[in-house]
């Protein structure tokens, strides 16, 4: 038996190009189980491409992706079952009610409708949205939509939750609520989370951080270690030093 637990997500030598432009260049990193890992990068760093490859929207040209040790190409079905995903764009069906959105997602994972309804209603209740189960998704605020998207992503009890810039377009309070919600899932349910962002203030000092810049991984490790190793005082400074581009500092 291996003494180290299998990483929640393990990406090895991943390279992907659109024509001549390399969106990802020999990317290698892994995220530990039961931790909140932040993938930090500016717009255009390759985060969305990486996300599309992990979710098998399209296949990598080179390299490997394993989710809890399951190869995404060899065992796509088993690997995808481990995965809950919140995409950057809003993907709730606005014409359907909240519970219908959840039931549809559950059906896409082969969950019995009766069980799915019970799961969906319980999840909405926990999120304080039980009175709105029959409301159309379009009546929700941006923050509420995101919360429902997270509930939906967790309907099939995945072990790894991926969130692609989930706080984009949210106000300060909704952002804080959302981060707190996801952090509590990590703490209470031992969920593994990969949170991509370009907003540096979403990082805590003990979070695992992966810095992706122009398609390359420049640093990985705990935030406080990255700060220390780079000789900076803050993660923002560390990011600027590591990427060597002060003009393009991520937003705080």
């Amino acid at each position: 038996m291996n003494a180290l637990p299998t990483p929640a997500l393990c990406v090895t030598n991943l390279t992907h190009a659109y024509g001549a432009r390399k969106a990802l260049d020999d990317v290698t990193f892994s995220t530990p189980q039961g931790r909140f890992t932040v993938l930090l990068g500016l717009n255009g760093a390759g985060k969305t491409t990486l996300f599309s490859l992990i979710t098998r929207l399209y296949a990598a040209q080179q390299g490997e992706i394993n989710i809890f040790g399951l190869n995404i190409i060899r065992h796509p079905s088993a690997a995808l079952r481990q995965l809950g995903v919140v995409f950057q764009s809003r993907t709730l069906d606005l014409e359907l009610s909240l519970i219908q959105n959840l039931l549809y997602h559950a059906a896409l994972h082969g969950i019995e409708p009766k069980k799915a309804r019970a799961l969906g209603l319980a999840a909405l209740e926990r999120a304080g949205l039980s009175g709105r189960a029959q409301d159309k998704a379009r009546t929700l605020s941006g923050g509420q939509m995101r919360r429902v998207e997270i509930l939906r992503a967790l309907m099939h009890a995945p072990h790894l939750l991926l969130l692609d810039e989930p706080t984009v377009g949210l106000d300060i309070k909704a952002r804080a609520d959302l981060i707190a919600q996801v952090r509590s899932l990590v703490k209470e349910q031992n969920l593994s989370v990969l949170w991509t962002t370009h907003l540096i203030d979403e990082i805590d000092h003990d979070d695992e951080v992966i810095i992706l810049h122009q398609g390359k991984i420049l640093a990985t490790g705990r935030a406080d270690h990255i700060i220390k190793n780079s000789g900076a005082a803050t993660i923002s400074e560390a990011f600027a030093l590591i990427t060597g581009n002060h003009a393009e500092r991520p937003l705080i």
Binding site: L57, A59, P76, S77, D93, A107, L108, H109, G110
Partner: protein, 278 residues
């Protein structure tokens, strides 16, 4: 987190596949019900052709006795199968439009990250579209019935069902291929000009092919190759409880070709999605 290796790669059960299929059809049905304008326009379009165009052209276009008809028929009766196929053609294109929309909005991604094989997800989506198109055709036939357009026996309504299913699949699969080729929603208008209109007019929907042959042999060959012609003829014959094996074979072959092309287009390794989701 401590799942055994076998548990983790256990294949999905047949029942789960059925739940997934049901879920996709259910969602498509709900969306259809919520888009009343779509239903009404799907119904009004063929009715305009039937009540206005066919009535106007009744005197101009004489139809000789051709199979499957045993007697002289009214022009309205002649164009009804073409209009049934037209409903399915529009529905197929509408489904592809909604796939482009879904892709732009991101909800296509929620479908594609399901653990079921991609061919199954896309086929289910296709079936869902066919189901909706068949509902539309029967709604049209109900109205046409009161216009005294009906099959020789009520069984015609039953025998036409498999033909509608096959034609719906063919046109839906064609729509799916197109949806993978269209980069943006705005480009969809081109589909109207370059796919729907040529397919509809260069077919046996509005006039029998022998008439086309008289005026232009080249156009006749184009019509004879047009998959839509075969869809119309398959529907026409089955509505009269007859079987036209040539059109059935042609529609089956075209369906297979379009399906394979759609699956290749949405295959993650070769997919054309790649160019669009950067």
């Amino acid at each position: 987190m401590s799942l055994t290796a076998q548990d983790r790669i256990k294949p999905l059960a047949l029942r789960q596949y059925l739940i997934c299929l049901w879920g996709i059809v259910w969602r498509e049905g709900l969306r259809f019900l919520h888009q009343r304008e779509r239903f009404i326009s799907a119904l009004v379009r063929p009715l305009v052709w039937l009540f206005i165009f066919a009535a106007g052209f009744r005197q101009v276009l004489g139809i000789s006795i051709i199979p499957p008809y045993d007697t002289y028929i009214l022009y309205e009766v002649y164009i009804t199968p073409g209009l049934m196929a037209m409903i399915q053609l529009f529905n197929g294109m509408q489904s592809s439009l909604s796939m482009v929309y879904d892709r732009e909005m991101g909800s296509m991604r929620t479908l594609l990250i399901s653990p079921f094989p991609r061919w199954f997800l896309l086929s289910s989506k296709l079936f869902a579209g066919v189901f909706v198109s068949i509902l539309q055709v029967y709604a049209y036939l109900l109205i046409a019935y009161f216009w005294e357009i009906e099959p020789p026996s009520l069984w015609g309504y039953v025998t036409v069902l498999p033909a509608l299913a096959l034609c719906g699949l063919m046109l839906g699969a064609l729509g799916m291929v197109l949806s993978s080729l269209i980069k943006q929603l705005e480009n969809f208008a081109g589909v109207m000009n370059f796919v729907i209109f040529p397919m509809f007019f260069a077919s046996s929907a509005l006039y029998p092919l022998w008439r086309v042959k008289e005026s232009s042999p080249y156009l006749y060959y184009a019509c004879a190759l047009n998959p839509f012609t075969h869809a119309v003829e398959l529907i026409r014959f089955s509505f009269y409880q007859k079987f036209d094996w040539i059109s059935c074979a042609a529609v089956s072959a075209y369906t297979a070709v379009f399906l394979i092309a759609a699956l290749i287009a949405y295959d993650p390794a070769r997919g054309m999605l790649m160019r669009k989701n950067t």
